[in-house]
């Protein structure tokens, strides 16, 4: 059990380093947009494991992001925790095996996360134009990009689960219900 958490922690460290170095190469567009792999990890993990574990995951990933590149220490940590709790609550309300919910959670989670980040980071010169530009050229493209990556990750995880017949998420009940392949 503890070993699993340690592996998860190390995986988050690797993902944070990946996000700050290699993720730059995934950027595209006139306003270069890169996907946020850390955020995708927080959302997907929280969706399957509930708000407590989601909050812990968000906290760990947020601290790492703050330590590595954040300008105001604590911003990404608080946002990570909030997203972890928020998405974690969704797992009680929705049927978790339906891929549409997890994919839409990634989209909505990214949208909310980036909107709050954008408002806070541009607070000095915040106006309607800046918000509109941010939504159009930063938030929406990133949310869509994250959504596409989430689809790929979800597919790979399902495939791995079918191959191993094991469970990838902490919830034991979930394992029983997701043994067979449902696809998208």
């Amino acid at each position: 059990m503890k070993a699993r958490y340690l592996v998860g922690f190390l995986a988050l460290i690797l993902l944070a380093v990946f996000q700050c170095t290699v993720a730059e190469n995934f950027s595209f567009g006139s306003v270069p947009i890169k996907p946020n792999f850390l955020l995708i990890a927080i959302i997907m993990y929280s969706f399957y494991n509930g708000y407590i574990k989601g909050a812990v995951c968000g906290l760990t990933a947020g601290i790492m992001q703050d330590l590595l590149t954040g300008m105001n220490f604590g911003l990404y940590t608080i946002l990570g925790v909030l997203i972890g709790i928020g998405v974690g609550y969704l797992n009680k309300r929705f049927y978790r095996d339906n891929p549409i919910f997890i994919i839409l959670s990634v989209f909505a989670g990214t949208f909310v996360y980036e909107l709050i980040t954008g408002i806070i980071l541009n607070i000095k010169m915040l106006d309607f134009q800046t918000i509109l530009f941010g939504v159009r050229f930063v938030i929406l493209p990133e949310a869509l990009y994250n959504l596409l990556i989430a689809i790929v990750i979800y597919g790979v995880l399902r495939l791995l689960r079918i191959i191993s017949k094991g469970r990838f998420f902490a919830d034991g009940r979930h394992r029983e219900r997701t043994i067979e392949w449902r696809g998208f």
Partner: protein, 272 residues
């Protein structure tokens, strides 16, 4: 047996005579000879042409093979030469930037220039911060100015023992006190999310009566209280927005692409 041998000999003899006769006709060049030549042509031509086409195809194959090989060799050579050209041009531009840095170093004689490599970039899409591999152990800390070539890159916002975070001038939270080089008017250069992607920043608070033109340079003002030394070029004006009610603003392009920097120089004040 003897009869058979006799017959065989006679047949061989007759055949030999016919062949000699045909060759004689051919060599004589008369009409009969030509007819006989046509006759031999009819017989031998298909065989000859078959053999010659086989031989030609062998030759062609070997020719095309050698051409193909030569072509591939040439293509490879072109790729290698292109690589060498791009490496040479990169080296040249790097040399130019370093020469410019040396010129800046001569002007800012009371500063040490500490080279540093960029080791990671911002995780998100809103800000433009990067991390360099020099920290407080190298004597740098919050507020140190970062330059490259003749131009300004940004400032250090926090330092650990061996790394530092640099806020670039295109970051939306960045603000630098500046002057228009030609007429010395004071302005403010800020980062803006709308121009961050293209590596540009915004010049604010240009009075309506101040004359600003395209391609004009904007440099740090170095006013008291500013951490940026006077006279470091921030960028060149590429667009002007004429203000009607408010004051004018302009978009400037730094001297280099901040998004693709790999190395920078941190200014460290010399201890007298």
């Amino acid at each position: 047996m003897a009869k058979f041998e006799k017959l065989l000999k006679s047949k061989i003899f007759i055949t030999a005579v016919i062949i000699v006769f045909l060759f004689t006709l051919v060599s004589m060049g008369n009409k009969a000879g030509l007819y006989s030549f046509d006759l031999t042509g009819i017989i031998f031509k298909p065989i000859q042409s078959t053999f010659s086409s086989i031989a030609n195809s062998f030759n062609k194959n070997s020719d095309s093979q050698s051409l193909r090989m030569e072509n591939e060799q040439l293509k490879e050579e072109i790729v290698n030469l292109n690589k060498k050209i791009s490496a040479a041009s990169a080296f040249e531009s790097m040399q130019n930037q370093l020469e410019e840095t040396l010129q800046l170093k001569d002007r800012l004689s009371n500063f040490d220039f500490l080279p540093a490599d960029i080791i990671s970039k911002d995780a998100g899409n809103w800000s433009e911060v990067f991390v360099i591999n020099k920290g407080s152990a190298d004597g740098i800390g919050k507020g140190n100015v970062v330059v490259f070539g003749m131009g300004l890159v940004g400032k250090i916002i926090s330092s650990s023992v061996n790394t530092s975070k640099v806020q670039t001038i295109i970051d939306p939270e960045s603000a630098v006190g500046a002057r228009i080089t030609s007429n010395r008017s004071l302005v403010e250069v800020v980062g803006d999310i709308r121009y961050k992607g293209s590596g540009q920043c915004l010049v604010k608070y240009i009075d309506n009566d101040v004359n600003i033109m395209l391609d004009e340079y904007i440099e740090t003002s170095g006013l008291e209280g500013s951490i940026f030394p006077k006279g470091i070029i921030i960028g060149k004006v590429v667009k002007i927005d004429e203000g009607i009610v408010e004051r004018k603003s302009a978009v400037i392009q730094p001297l280099f692409d901040i998004n693709s920097l790999e190395t920078v120089f941190v200014l460290k004040e010399k201890i007298q």
